[in-house]
Subunit: 321 residues, 2 copies
Amino acid sequence: MPLSWDEPISNELKMVDDMIRHEVQSQEDLLTEISLHIIGSGGKRIRPGVALLAYHSVGGDDPERIIGISAAFEIIHSATLIHDDINDGGDTRRGVVAAYRKFGVQQALIAGDFLFVRGFRLGGFLGQDLVDIIADACTSMAESEILQGRYENDPSTPVDVYLEIIKGKTAMPIEAGARTGATLGGGSPEQVSALGEYALNLGMAFQIIDDVLDITGNEDTLGKPRGMDFIEGKPTLPLILALNHGGNGTRLRKLFTKDEKTEEDVDEAVEYLLQTDILERSKEKAREFSKRAVDALDPISESEYKQGLTLLAEKVVDREF
Amino acid sequence: MPLSWDEPISNELKMVDDMIRHEVQSQEDLLTEISLHIIGSGGKRIRPGVALLAYHSVGGDDPERIIGISAAFEIIHSATLIHDDINDGGDTRRGVVAAYRKFGVQQALIAGDFLFVRGFRLGGFLGQDLVDIIADACTSMAESEILQGRYENDPSTPVDVYLEIIKGKTAMPIEAGARTGATLGGGSPEQVSALGEYALNLGMAFQIIDDVLDITGNEDTLGKPRGMDFIEGKPTLPLILALNHGGNGTRLRKLFTKDEKTEEDVDEAVEYLLQTDILERSKEKAREFSKRAVDALDPISESEYKQGLTLLAEKVVDREF
């Protein structure tokens, strides 16, 4: 059993990082600086990690191409983070000031476009089928951002809509990485499906926990202030459950639908959520997805890479990594 | 001799338009609406037109794939227009209100990302060499936006820097279309180079004339108020020439470097420019590029497609199309 989910691929993740740093070099120093600001600020590298593990878990053994594609997924992910911060008005990300705050909206917008292009460039050799998988995932990201915007400050957002939003914005990009890795690694159609199914469910669990941490975390561990989803009017699973909880749910509705929320509003909402069983119920939902992810790996034969994937899905709920 | 530059490919340009409209369909209606807002508002379709003419001029005769790629170039171009308008704060584009003004910055930003992805998706079959050409052109667009930002409101911008900016933002994307078209059409390396050279010079001439029209045009023909480059502090060729013109150049410098320019400032600057020979000198520079474009076509054998390319380069200076 590996000591951590990414132990079997730790060297390759370093190569992915080196490649990313190489790919974001630009004759305009500012573009490189903004890119490294977001890329150098950490992140769990789950997207490239899942792509690499999927590749090896089906027997892939010449990782040069999958390292390039893993870098592409992380670069595209960074592009969306920069643009998301502009759209959400978030001040900090991964514990550092958001790119648009530091460099200006115009520069951050262009840097996001630059990173999109650099990411897609790395996928140029893949051929139409795999490019389609990646582009469709990126399309879903954009669509789910619009969907999320439609339900901003809407206390009646159905849980199904929430699940559709996080599927598009988080789960499908991770799924695309797994499918690409499994395909390049020579996996059978059944194995590609299995790893795609694994990654989709992993992504759902991951995002639900992210949304729980927005309430239970603190600025040190989150890299941003707690309660941001609440402030931005984003309907997350814990908030949706709480808003339909009866009793204090009515008070929470009033706070949630306010256009400008004060620090006191946030504290009141967080305190309320911490007193209920709603966070536990949300984690239970994440556990369901996590279990589905592990179960999906059945057709994959045992290896340290499969163990890495299993470990990641198991630990994602307690975010012990 | 064709009646207009795009006559030999007018049916195919319609197919490109149909394909674009098909490709921007989204399950989120708003994304389709924003996309069609910019795409339906006209534009000269120079990018797809040059790609199609280049394809046929070297003997390409199965246009299905080049139609897809031509659509991709126009879609990516539309993405950059939407993001540029956010960055420049322009109110109108092609005679209609800018997308971000109508739909909001957040939605326009996401729609631009959506269009980028849809464009790149259409290039998925191309293979690494051609994807590199397209991605490098997109990289240059981002880099030249940053370069342009560095020289905003700078009255000492050298002409060379201006030429580098318009090369990256306008000429290289058109060049990429020509090279892609010529390659897919089965052109020899010499023909691909020749058509690339043609398109690069065409793009330079086109942008210089665009910058002249910003001064001589009116809102009806421009689709936006005149003097926008001046207001935004963008150093264009006529402005750079005027700022170094001695005499009234000093007064113009004062106006150009103001952060907030009034309507009177714009009128004064435009009137001044109209009284000098600077616009004629700028057009002369565009004519040089136009001539170089036509000359570059020497290795291409005669056909209505070559005639279309020639006509486009000749007419670009008087913008008679």
